[in-house]
């Protein structure tokens, strides 16, 4: 078992009195699996990904990553463990004033000494790797462009190029397709899955495109209100289960959603 959540309850740091973001979740993932995470906005998909990335400590219950409990280790050992995973947030974490080549090569930072990192700021140490990764998303002509010159979709794929350059064996990807048109979304997802398959890495990917998830992922986890509603092979997933997962979202909120910001964006205080 590569990842294992056992009855894990997660609260956001600093929000200990609020309702937990995830309730007593149990989830097992074997190495090399490809899992799609679906569910309505605010269901806890991002929180779950962050928990799996050792970026949030479970309030209750256990989490085992690569067979060990990261929260029983000291800070340094846990940090070393983080080198084996790659968490790609929904908004690409690329500094606007950085060049694409630097932003993509930042994936190598866990392996680099401070000196090497510094030298690579002055002269990119492996532009070839960045170029190859970008080329898989048809972005090779942006290699030396600045991030703030890219469109939203280009930035998102640039973030995925960073994932390709990393050496991680666990990919936790938060809505990688949210800024892409349907054709690009399909191509991007194909690259991600192909890369995970070739390096036998695990891919856990939250998605809003339910049909895409059903067609391309062997296993689907449905999340709603911080609970796992279903965890099933995608060929056993029925339309009724999906309707049930998203049911009542429109009817239940007659007031403009902006009036209750605390309830709609639980992921903000963390990042």
């Amino acid at each position: 078992m590569q990842l294992e959540l056992i009855n894990a309850t997660i609260r956001h740091p600093g929000a200990n009195n609020a309702a937990p973001a995830l309730h007593e979740l149990t989830l097992q993932v074997t190495a090399g699996e490809q899992i799609a995470l679906i569910g309505p906005s605010g269901a806890g998909k991002t929180t779950l990904l962050h928990t799996l990335a050792c970026a949030i400590r479970p309030h209750d219950g256990d989490y085992l990553a690569f067979g060990i409990d990261p929260w029983q280790m000291n800070d340094a050992a846990r940090h070393a463990l983080r080198k084996r995973l790659f968490l790609a947030p929904q908004t690409p974490p690329l500094p606007p004033r950085q060049r694409v080549v630097t932003a993509v090569l930042a994936a190598r930072l866990p392996q680099w000494s401070l000196w090497r990192a510094f030298a690579s700021l002055i002269k990119p140490s492996d532009p070839r790797a960045a170029f190859d990764a970008l080329a898989r998303f048809q972005l090779e002509d942006k290699l030396y462009a600045r991030v703030d010159r890219l469109s939203g979709g280009e930035r998102q794929r640039c973030g995925m190029a960073r994932l390709l350059v990393s050496t991680a064996e666990l990919f936790l990807v938060d809505e990688p397709l949210s800024a892409l048109d349907p054709t690009l979304a399909l191509a991007t997802l194909a690259v991600l899955q192909e890369e995970a398959a070739t390096r036998k890495a695990t891919l856990i990917c939250s998605l809003h495109q339910v049909e895409l998830a059903r067609r391309h992922f062997p296993r689907i986890v449905g999340l709603r209100d911080g609970r796992i509603v279903f965890d099933t092979r995608s060929d056993a997933l029925t339309d009724a289960m999906i309707a049930n997962l998203y049911a009542g979202r429109e009817a239940a909120t007659p007031a403009p959603p902006d009036l209750t910001p605390a309830a709609t964006v639980p992921d903000v205080p963390c990042f």
């Binding site: 956001h12 970026a55 983080r82 084996r84 606007p96 630097t102 990192a117 990042f271």
Partner: protein
């Protein structure tokens, strides 16, 4: 519906802002009294006479070749003092900034709380910065002139000590108020903290860090002039002599040099900011 409207229209921050402004104004009044702020004494007869005499001389800047050569040598000494002091201050400030930067805390990730020892180290360094900058460079200067004897060495160390405290504090604040998203993402993916800092925080903060550093360099030039008055050499010492002899023309020439120096610093800052923006 009406209740909801009232809720939207009532800005929760409004009252706090008004009260804050009123308290600020209330506190300002006793401060003006305590500082004996009496602008009208500038305009009594005796002051006006002295001012007129000084100004008449002042309007013709001294420009004999000898004097200009002397000013050039002293200007160079002043700039050199300021630059050396800034170099030392930066060398001290950078490690301390990195030490107190809470965004680079590993124990904070996932728990939102820093472990005890890292928190204590950060607090200690913060106090060290407070001590360094709470002693004015003039006081450091007077102390060091006693220890190292008169001359630029004392001035350089005096400025370096105070400015180290200032730079460390402001660098830390610039970094704290910049966007942490990129840095945090790199750290969560296992990157070393300093690496994450270089690739996540620096691109966004660089322009501001550079412009503040150059502004401080400008201040260091002024500071080294002030220190000249207590025997640390440079333009300040010349200025002291000219002021004591009430030679307005010389003072005028030196003030022009100050203005030119500050303008030059401003130009460099603008150029670098445009490069880095």
């Amino acid at each position: 519906m009406r209740q909801q409207n009232a809720q939207i229209v009532r800005d929760p921050a409004w009252r706090r802002r008004i009260v804050g402004t009123l308290i600020g104004l209330l506190l300002l009044w006793p401060m003006l009294v305590a500082s004996e702020f009496k602008p009208w004494i500038l305009f009594d007869e005796q002051s006006l006479n002295a001012t007129a005499h000084f100004l008449a001389d002042f309007l013709a800047p001294a420009h004999s070749l000898d004097f200009l050569r002397l000013v050039a040598v002293n200007t160079w000494q002043t700039v050199a003092m300021a630059t050396a002091a800034m170099t030392l201050a930066i060398a001290g400030a950078i490690p301390m900034t990195l030490l107190i930067n809470e965004r680079l805390s590993l124990s904070r990730i996932g728990t939102g709380r820093m472990a005890f020892i890292p928190a204590a180290v950060r607090q200690l360094v913060r106090w060290l910065l407070v001590v360094l900058r709470s002693v004015p460079e003039l006081v450091w200067g007077l102390l060091l002139v006693r220890i190292a004897g008169p001359g630029p060495t004392a001035g350089v160390f005096a400025i370096a000590l105070t400015y180290c405290g200032m730079l460390g504090k402001v660098y830390a604040e610039i970094l704290d108020s910049s966007d942490h998203f990129a840095t945090r993402a790199l750290i969560v993916n296992g990157s070393g903290r300093l690496n994450a800092f270089l690739y996540g925080a620096m691109p966004e903060a660089a322009a501001e860090l550079v412009s503040y550093t150059i502004y401080r360099w400008e201040c260091a030039i002024r500071g080294s002039i002030v220190l000249g008055f207590v025997g640390a050499g440079g333009l300040g010492q010349r200025m002291d002599e000219s002021l004591k002899n009430l030679v307005g023309g010389e003072v005028c020439t030196m003030l022009i040099v100050f203005v030119l120096l500050v303008a030059a610093a401003d130009g460099v800052s603008k150029m670098l900011r445009e490069r880095l923006a």
